[in-house]
């Protein structure tokens, strides 16, 4: 009995050297990789989401974009578009598409043609044309595009011939190309969409995806895993991994345990507290990357008392950021002065730093008419994100800070998807959340987070709509001159400092822990992770 049990636990003598004793195991398993992710995807279409968890899981694995961003320099590179040009008035763009790009061939769809201009027009017309058969499918929600006001910017997307697409804009926009290179601007298959329309199941477009990316979709079990297989005809060349599985493990401790037992090859978001400990192990490697992100505390500026700028400033003075940086980020982050990280070219270096000053905070509260303080909710997101590795702990620290100025804060948390839904319905008083940039353009911080159109689409967590601010960030886009743009963004940062719709807390580094057997999984400073170049040594 004991012998049988032992042989069960230790096949061929050692479990640690799995590959050595499993000659019969097919390649799809030996050359498969398990990426342990921190949450479930909300959709399989990047157009429909903004959550980093979902983008990590779907965007770079299943799809390609017209343009890519060079992770080192932030410059734009050709992807599905081999070249592009701009008209003299800055309002028309032409893109030439790459020939012979194959779509995924799966159990539910067999493409009859390669990528052409129809796929591109389908992808973007779905977002803007309200009478498009797919526009309303799933509720007409395109949060990223709505937050950058895409609908009013892009007048028409036209296929000039089978491999040229023309974008007509209503005004010049210097962030337009950057937006096309974000993970959200993935190119879908028009042929697949047509097939689904005929089958009368249009909603499957966002649930059973078809793209041109390095992997194709096999199966998704809710809250358990997502299974992808290698796309054999990927245009960038051979993908080494035969199979890619996203194991969904929301619990941080469990994710770490699975890394140590080799159930996970790569682990997203290891806990900062454990980084030192796991880095000492010979079989595990910790990678880090400076990342464009910001963790902040946003006030619901439409709700009293947060509609009063004095109250918002008072709360900002009451928070001890240094203590938060130590306890929550373990020193693996820079203190934030403003929304933009210091690595951005538009960062305002001379902006005065927000001080921790409870006495000043109390004075401001008294001026605002709350000498005795008030009670409020702090919503703390339930998952670990790069920009905020432990929102609950942060909320507890802030609770104590706020108590010193007489503000009674209660901490609120829900499951992640419900949390985000309730946030976009603005049920909160204030929320601890953040933002990771999708491209190198500073506009990617201001517009999706604080513009009026973002308030409408629900991604503006401060529910803050200020025409002055919108005017500044719109002006900045009308010119391609970097010096002029910079001066607009500096003014915008100053204005934010005065209005304080949110308190920026930290810019964190991004970490990931992986088995030493895996190579080629690098963290992208802009947006989602890519597994296309990953390989596993046995």
């Amino acid at each position: 009995m004991i012998k049988a049990l032992l042989s069960l636990m230790v096949p061929c003598g050692s479990v640690l050297i799995l590959s050595a004793c499993q000659p019969d195991i097919p390649e799809t398993i030996q050359q498969g990789m398990v990426y342990c992710s921190e949450g479930s995807p909300e959709s399989f279409n990047p157009q429909r989401v903004t959550s980093g968890t979902t983008i990590d899981a779907i965007s770079q694995q299943l799809y390609d974009r017209l343009l890519d961003i060079d992770p080192a320099s932030g410059e734009l590179l050709p992807a599905l578009a081999t070249q592009w040009r701009l008209s003299d008035d800055g309002k028309t763009y032409w893109f030439t598409l790459r020939p012979d790009v194959q779509f995924h061939h799966t159990a539910f769809f067999s493409p009859s043609r390669t990528l052409n201009a129809k796929d591109v027009t389908f992808t973007f017309n779905r977002i803007t044309q309200t009478d498009h058969p797919y526009h309303a499918t799933g509720g007409a929600v395109y949060p990223y595009f709505q937050s950058v006001d895409w609908g009013s910017l892009v007048k028409a997307v036209v296929a000039e011939n089978s491999n040229t697409v023309r974008f007509e804009l209503s005004r010049p926009d210097s962030s337009f190309l950057s937006n096309l290179a974000t993970d959200f601007a993935a190119i879908l298959s028009a042929e697949y969409a047509e097939q689904l329309l005929q089958q009368n199941q249009p909603e499957l477009l966002d649930q059973r995806p078809i793209g041109t990316g390095p992997f194709f979709f096999k199966e998704y079990k809710k809250n358990q895993f997502i299974r992808y297989y290698r796309h054999p005809e990927y245009w960038r060349g051979k993908v080494e991994l035969t199979q890619l599985v996203f194991d969904l493990v929301p619990d941080n401790a469990k994710r770490m345990a699975k890394l140590l037992t080799h159930e996970c090859d790569v682990v997203a978001y290891p806990r900062n507290a454990e980084l030192k400990l796991i880095a000492e192990r010979p079989d595990v490697e910790v990678q880090s990357q400076i990342s464009m992100n910001v963790g902040f505390w946003a006030f619901n500026t439409q709700k009293p008392p947060f509609d009063n700028v004095l109250v918002r400033k008072a709360l900002a003075y009451a928070i001890n950021k240094d203590a938060i940086l130590d306890a929550v980020y373990f020193g693996y982050a820079d203190k934030a002065k403003t929304l933009l990280p210091p690595t951005s070219w538009a960062f305002y270096h001379d902006l005065p730093e927000q001080q921790y000053d409870p006495i000043k905070a109390q004075e401001l509260l008294a001026q605002a008419g709350y000498p005795k303080g008030f009670s409020m909710d702090i919503w703390a997101m339930p998952v670990q994100r790069l920009y905020n590795p432990n929102a609950l702990k942060m909320a507890e620290l802030m609770q104590a800070d706020l108590a010193k100025i007489g503000v009674k804060a209660s901490i609120v948390s829900f499951e992640w998807n419900s949390f985000r839904r309730k946030l976009s319905e603005f049920e909160h008083d204030s929320v601890l959340i953040g933002w990771a940039a999708d491209n190198a353009d500073p506009d990617n911080f201001f517009r999706p987070l604080l513009s009026c159109s973002a308030a409408e689409s629900g991604s503006n967590r401060a529910n803050w709509c200020d025409p002055n601010f919108d005017n500044l960030i719109n002006q900045a886009l009308l010119t391609a001159d970097i010096k002029q743009r910079r001066s607009f963004y500096l003014t915008a940062q100053l204005y934010l400092d005065e209005q304080m719709p949110l308190v920026s807390i930290a810019h964190s580094k991004r970490f990931q822990a992986k088995s030493v057997k895996i190579t080629g999984v690098t963290i992208n400073p802009y947006g989602g992770i890519s597994m296309a170049a990953a390989r596993k040594s046995l």
Binding site: L5, L8, M9, V10, P11, V15, L16, Q22, D24, I25, P26, T28, I29, G32, V34, K218, E219, K221, K222, N223, Q224, F225, R227, Q243, V245, D247, V249, D251, K254, A257, K258, L260, T261, H262, E263, F414, E415, N417, S418, R421
Partner: protein, 339 residues
Amino acid sequence: MMLHYFLRRTFLIAFVFVALTVLAFSLSYLFPGEVLNNVSGLTSIDPEQQQALIQYYALDQSVIMQYLGYVHRILAGEWGLSFSSQQPVLAEIIAVFPATLELASYALILSFVLGIPLGLFAAVKADSFFGKLISGITLVAYSIPIFWWALLLIMLFSLTLGLLPTAGRINVLFDIPTTTGFMLPDIWLSDIPYKSEATQDALRHLLLPAIVLATYPTTVMIRFTRDSMLAVLEQSYIKTARAKGLSRAQVLYHHGLRNALLPVIRQIGLQFSTLITLAMITEVIFSWPGIGQWLLDSIYQRNYPAIQGGLLVVSCLVIVVNMLTEILHTLFNPLARKA
């Protein structure tokens, strides 16, 4: 006689089901939020949809009519939509329930295989060192909190020794098509070329959760078998049998064991609800994708239609198993039929 007994049982079970559905039905009204959302499971309802839905769910009629409609929908398999996924609750339950049943039944089998012989041994050799050792270990295992025990095992076998996985039903790289929802039968029914590796891997995943979940029922089984065996051995018919010259083994098997196991059968039914509760805890610790984990997620998500459906299924299962063991007990024990 037997027929009469079954009729009585059936009547009782019907009554319990009515009580259960009344409870589940009333939850839609007791949960926060709009009743219409809670019954239908739709998170957003258009104003033009609303009137049609109110009529469909009979919300404009008396409570009795609403209840009858609810029972009708439950029987027709229409359990509403889950708030979080907007998929039918019943389909989700069917997807997760087999995992729980699988785990619970392996644990139950394990507790039989270990519990009954050990209990017998502890009774027959009550005064020996091993008899006392079994009783002692049983007491410790009975008192140990299951989540702590599970973590200890994970620490030892997974993290320190690296022998067993910590979570899930099978290595996620094994692509096993779902046919029954039970992992081992699914592997055997599939046409994958690596069946034996997959089976081995599934068993390795099963081992720790099954041991953890089996701990409590095994101790109960040992204690009951032991106590009931000790009581039976005191009976005069045992002494008579021995005096008549039957061997010790014969007496134990024919006269002792059969009589001693009767109360044990009844215990299975009574312990089953505890087993399901413990299964939920085990599922959460080992990320076992069963109904326990699903139900806890639903509670965390305030997913009322799912909570309602999950509770109904779990409580029905407990009642059905209770009834079955009771009937089994009666079949084996003529004395109970008269009562």
